[in-house]
Amino acid sequence: MAIIKTENLTYIYGDGTPFRKVAVDDVNLEIDEGEMVGIIGHTGSGKSTLIQHFNGLLKPTSGSVLIDGERLWDDKSKLRPVRFKVGLVFQYPEYQLFEETCYKDIGFGPKNMGLDNAEVDRRIKETAKMVGITADMLDKSPFELSGGQKRRVAIAGVMAMEPKVLILDEPASGLDPKGRDQILGLIKEYHREKKNTVLLVSHSMEDIAKNVSKILVMNKAKLYCYDDTRTVFHRAAQLEEMGLAVPQITRVFNRLKAMGLDIGDDVYTTKYAKELLLKLLAEKKFNRGIETD
């Protein structure tokens, strides 16, 4: 069953004013439970507005959102559990840390859910371990940590609520390549272990290609497509028209194909590119071997 479903979802900022702007336009979408989805789109395409509907931060101007089969906003008192079910990590989440210690900060969400102390403690320790925050760091003030560590504490705070859906808006932005790989690695690991649904908003096509199995593309407030990674990156020309891109390695292979090589057009990670090249080049060696015999 779809964990997230939207029906004709439309959201308009400043409706009835001269600043009226349709940010999300008639989006119909079904995301199955357990998927790891990348969300891409140009600045102002409606990505952030869309994801804020998934945990009831925004109320649709028209249409509706169903989470785990339940229609949001039918009964306002039911919104609170939805916010626990769908965890949202904003961009630069480290600016939202506020508690005296990392321990308390990670525990803030679970405590608000009304869990008992033993369970809160278990969750803090488990998620801290998952994101690589050591026991002695837990007792420190979050402000004593490095930027990358702070961000991991902030993400742990949402993970600790064990949401069925975890949504992260640009979780790796501003980090160096190693920091980026670490954050994305731990998100991937979380997804593998918990089998929860994860939505990842990113402007880095390389990061998207490496980490997700499906991609949702927003363009000018509309849902352009929701399909598997291979199919989406297959549309390089259309993506570029929208101000997006495909990974560098995909551009290289597309150009080789255009030059007349028969090499398939499903290369979007360097890992796969290496395997494919080795295979093709090994065949060449083999063929040469026969010729010289």
């Binding site: 789109g41 140009h42 600045t43 102002g44 490095s146 930027g147 990358g148 932005s173 501003g174 980090l175 160096d176 390549p177 190693k178 920091g179 980026r180 402007h203 096509m205 390389e206 101000g243 997006l244 891109a245 990974p247 560098q248 390695i249 551009r251 290289v252 150009r255 080789l256 030059m259 007349g260 090589l261 028969d262 090499i263 360097t270 590119a273 290496k274 090249l277 080795l278 093709l280 080049l281 065949e283 060449k284 063929n287």
Partner: protein, 287 residues
């Protein structure tokens, strides 16, 4: 003496909140020369000291030890502050933090007004700067309605209106989408190639650094590499160990090179990679 001349530069931040105050030395003796008209990329992991270094170039930070001079002007001397800031402009990561006015052209004029430039001259320079970054038709727009890439180009226009010799950009594309990123990179390269502006670009995107004339790598407050992009990125393992990366095309070429195939390990652009792979593959089953 080079245009930007850095010798034995040391710099520390002091945390006064601690008792006794804690000193954190970020730059530990950097020597660096940048000539007029160069395009230099600076790489380093978070906390390596590269932003601190950038701020030393236009005298936001002044050396604790060693010296930094710009066009022969020592940054430590108070009376040099204004002449240095006129020569070196800075562009930061978040476009929203750099825009002060409600109309694009007013924002670009802001610094000029502060410098007391004549109104007629302001008009001329603002128009020219906006045309240079391709934002002239947006001159009457409200900045907050622009895309990230457009805002960043307005921020760059505000700098070039001051007609600086050099622009230091601290991760100007970190918050932009792919199109915004390529717009800003195109603008930077055009300023360098056509207008002769010296560029110091701090970035975490290896594909951007590969477009520079020269790449400087900072680690632990020290300069550990300083060479043309090919020489820096061909050291794939070294870069990885520093918490950095290489362009995807370099990774592929290096991999095949190490497997014994006849391909250069110094490939850093998409064009080079396409040509090299085509050469290798054209008489395979694929070709």
């Amino acid at each position: 003496m080079s245009y930007i001349h850095i010798r034995g530069l040391e710099f520390s931040y002091i945390n006064e909140a601690e008792e006794p105050p804690v000193k954190n030395t970020v730059l530990k003796g950097i020597d660096l020369d940048i000539e007029k008209g160069e395009f230099v990329a600076v790489l380093g992991h978070n906390g390596s000291g590269k932003s601190t270094l950038a701020k030393c170039i236009n005298a936001i930070n002044t050396p604790e030890k060693g010296e930094v001079t710009v066009d022969g002007l020592d940054t430590i001397r108070e009376e040099n502050l204004l002449p240095i800031r006129k020569r070196v402009g800075m562009v930061f990561q978040n476009p929203d933090n750099q825009i002060v006015a409600t109309i694009v052209e007013e924002d670009v004029a802001f610094a000029l007004e502060n410098l007391g430039v004549e109104p007629k001259e302001i008009r001329r320079r603002v128009d020219e700067a906006l045309k240079t970054v391709g934002m002239y038709e947006y001159r009457m727009h409200a900045p907050h309605k622009l895309s990230g890439g457009q805002k960043q180009r307005v921020a760059i226009a505000g700098i070039i209106a001051m007609e600086p010799d050099c622009i230091v950009l601290d991760e100007p594309t970190a918050m932009l989408d792919p199109k915004g990123r390529s717009e800003v990179m195109k603008t930077i390269k055009m300023l360098n190639r056509e207008k002769g502006v010296t560029i110091v670009l701090i970035t975490h995107y290896m594909e951007e650094a590969a477009q520079a004339d020269r790449v400087v790598v900072i680690d632990g407050g020290e300069k550990i590499m300083d060479s043309v992009p090919k020489k820096v990125f061909s050291q794939v393992d070294v870069m990885r160990n520093l918490g950095l990366d290489v362009p995807q095309v370099t990774e592929i070429a290096d991999f095949l090179n190490k497997q014994g195939y006849d391909i250069s390990g110094e490939i850093i652009t998409e064009d080079e990679c396409v040509q090299a792979l085509y050469g290798l593959l054209k008489d395979t089953a694929a070709g």
